[in-house]
């Protein structure tokens, strides 16, 4: 029998791993102390963390919640915790948290903001979690109009008629694109909706309010909006609108139709080449010069439009990355089965491209939500704008950390939630591909 000859007579069974694997001790050794260099890093960073916490925690906890001014805080804290202690003055948050959340929204109407927020969660649920009953999506469709009515008040006819116009326009588009082709459907549907907005909604609203019943709740002016309410309104609307617009722009940029492609490329490159602040200034001041005198174009609406356009340009590029990452074979397989362009995009290309782009899409969402604080520069009272206002109050003049830490903490909760959701979604959509 030569050395190179070997025949296995019995196949080996799989065995349990050595005991170190999977135990806590094993984990610590593998991940924290796997070698001299790693052990050193673990110790150095451990000490660093301890040092930072030791400096920070006393400031956070040896604090005052009861004072009525910064001066009082500075007197109370050394008295309670001993000479030389400098703790946080959380009293400012206790006194002003309602303002930070609701801005100058009338106090007796806070319930409307709360209700809108809760309903937003209900409307989001079926979109975020596909295993909930699909009928809930109808509520998600109605929600923007309901939310608008609850927040701004006034007669219910305006949002209802707007929604009705959109539904009729969509049905007409559906009918015509089946019978006469997509292009005619889009043109007629859009024209009908524009015509309805320009000449239908307001006169009919006035007529119905005067002759039937106003069905109105108290009006709240845009100037009274502020705080996190404003951030969430701008952020959520921007997020909801920028995703579909971004998808269309990305598809347009990859289109073979020269005019569509040029328009999309031009739009994306222009918006990406301009700072958001510039767009916001255009929205707040310049736009008035272009509009006919006397038009009352709501400032929040203007800001939302600008933020949405800005985010959709970035969204388009993120999604284009996803589209480019799909193998050409996926497009070809769709074509070979006889699916037309829109069906192939909707059923095959976009589900995969969007899945690839989830991290980028959520980054853009988070970026957009944080960018809403920029509206403080054009004078809207979002949490940052309010912080400035609070600091100019004589009682709280000089307070910095406490306010910004609070604003940061609330923003962190929102952004972290979005981030975790994106990880959940990525795991859920994993199908063993690659």
């Amino acid at each position: 029998m030569s050395d190179s000859s070997f025949v296995r007579t019995e196949m080996l069974k799989s065995e349990a791993p050595p005991t170190m694997e999977g135990s806590v001790l094993g984990w610590i050794r593998n991940n924290l102390f796997s070698g001299p260099w790693n052990s050193l890093l673990t110790i150095v960073f451990g000490l660093l963390i301890v040092y930072v916490l030791a400096e920070m925690l006393p400031w956070v906890f040896l604090s005052s919640w009861t004072a009525t001014s910064l001066r009082e805080c500075r007197e109370i804290i050394p008295l309670t915790y001993g000479e030389g202690t400098t703790g946080a003055c959380w009293a400012v948050i206790r006194e002003r948290y309602l303002q930070l959340f609701y801005g100058f929204y009338p106090r007796e109407l806070y319930w409307r903001v709360n209700l809108t927020f809760v309903l937003m969660l209900v409307a989001l649920a079926p979109i975020l979690f596909p295993n909930l009953p699909r009928q809930l999506l109808y509520f998600s469709g109605v929600y923007p109009f309901l939310g608008y009515w609850l927040l701004w008040g006034g007669t219910i006819w305006t949002p209802t008629l707007t929604l009705a116009g959109l539904i009729v326009g969509y049905l007409l588009f559906n009918f015509l694109s089946e019978k006469r082709g997509l292009l005619i459907g889009v043109i007629v549907g859009t024209l009908l909706i524009i015509f309805w907005f320009l000449f239908g909604v307001i006169p009919i609203t006035v007529f119905l309010s005067e002759n039937v019943t106003p069905l109105a709740i108290e009006i709240v002016e845009s100037e009274q909006f502020g705080g996190f309410t404003l951030s969430v309104i701008i952020g959520a609307t921007g997020i909801a609108a920028s995703l579909p617009i971004g998808i269309l722009l990305a598809l347009g940029r990859k289109s073979d139709l020269l005019i569509v492609k040029s328009l999309c490329v031009g739009f994306i490159e222009f918006i990406r080449g301009v700072p958001l602040i510039t767009l916001l200034f255009v929205a707040s001041t310049l736009l008035n010069y272009f509009l006919p005198p006397g038009t009352n174009f709501d400032i929040i609406l203007r800001v939302v439009i600008m933020v949405t356009l800005f985010a959709s340009a970035y969204m388009a590029e993120v999604i284009r990355g996803g589209l480019a990452a799909l193998p050409k074979g996926q497009y070809e397989a769709g074509d070979a089965l006889g699916l037309d362009y829109w069906k192939s995009m909707r059923l095959i290309v976009l589900p995969q491209a969007l899945k690839i782009s989830i991290p980028g899409i959520v980054s853009t969402f988070i970026g957009l939500f944080k960018d809403t604080t920029l509206v403080s520069i054009i004078g809207l009272l979002d949490p940052i704008g309010l912080s400035k206002a609070i600091r100019s109050d004589t009682a709280w003049n000089g307070i910095v950390w406490e306010l910004y830490a609070f604003v940061a903490a609330v923003f962190f909760i929102f952004c972290f939630a979005m981030s975790r959701y994106s990880i959940y979604l990525e795991k859920k959509l994993e199908t063993g591909h690659r």
Binding site: P327, A336, L337, G338, L339, L347, T431, H433
Partner: protein, 260 residues
Amino acid sequence: MEEKVLEKKANSEQDSQPAVAITNMNKWFGKFHVLRDINLTVNNGERIVICGPSGSGKSTLIRCINRLEEHQSGSIIVEGTELSSDLKNIDLIRSEVGMCFQHFNLFPHLSVMENCTLAPIWVRKVPRHEAEKTAMHFLEKVKIPEQAYKYPGQLSGGQQQRVAIARSLCMRPRIMLFDEPTSALDPEMIKEVLDTMIELAEDGMTMLCVTHEMGFARQVANRVIFMDEGQIVESNEPEEFFNNPQSNRTKLFLSQILGH
């Protein structure tokens, strides 16, 4: 009554006309003349194997038949419909012509069942339960009904290619195109895919296969076509083609692929 007669007439016309008729077809990729003066008629029920060295244009040729590639001159008539830039005609032909790719191109985000029912539901407007029944029928035919609710990423290469065949069959195509269906497979899996294709051939499907599996060509093809430099060099019955090749280029090619 009259309608039925007309229908019958249309059917018999369809039987007599060739499945694919290509005349004087040329195609360029930029300045590169990739297909040169192709003339090819495929009758209903015919099984054609196309072989040739890489870059000879054989894949491009069958991809022209369902317009994955556009030809620039000449005509291609598939089941009586001429391929032109008319999108309606293209979608019509694509739903009549099934295609299997070298890399399967299954949709990884859909289960095997959804892969098979997608086109019938959205293109043919077949009700879902009916589409699922058809899908199960064809999955049984390719011998993997038990994988119906898995995702493509969980299957082996051979299983994926068989799903791809079933997916095409669910559209009840009149012609099947195969673009090197076994080239990306491990040796052990080639046989299971070829067996499926042989079974399909026995059922009388019109097939055009680009493949280097010469055993398959001998066993099922009515005709073997050899291509080189974008043109059809030789076309013959398999026995003649393999035992008595005429052109020198064919002889060289055969000696190289059968020589070892």
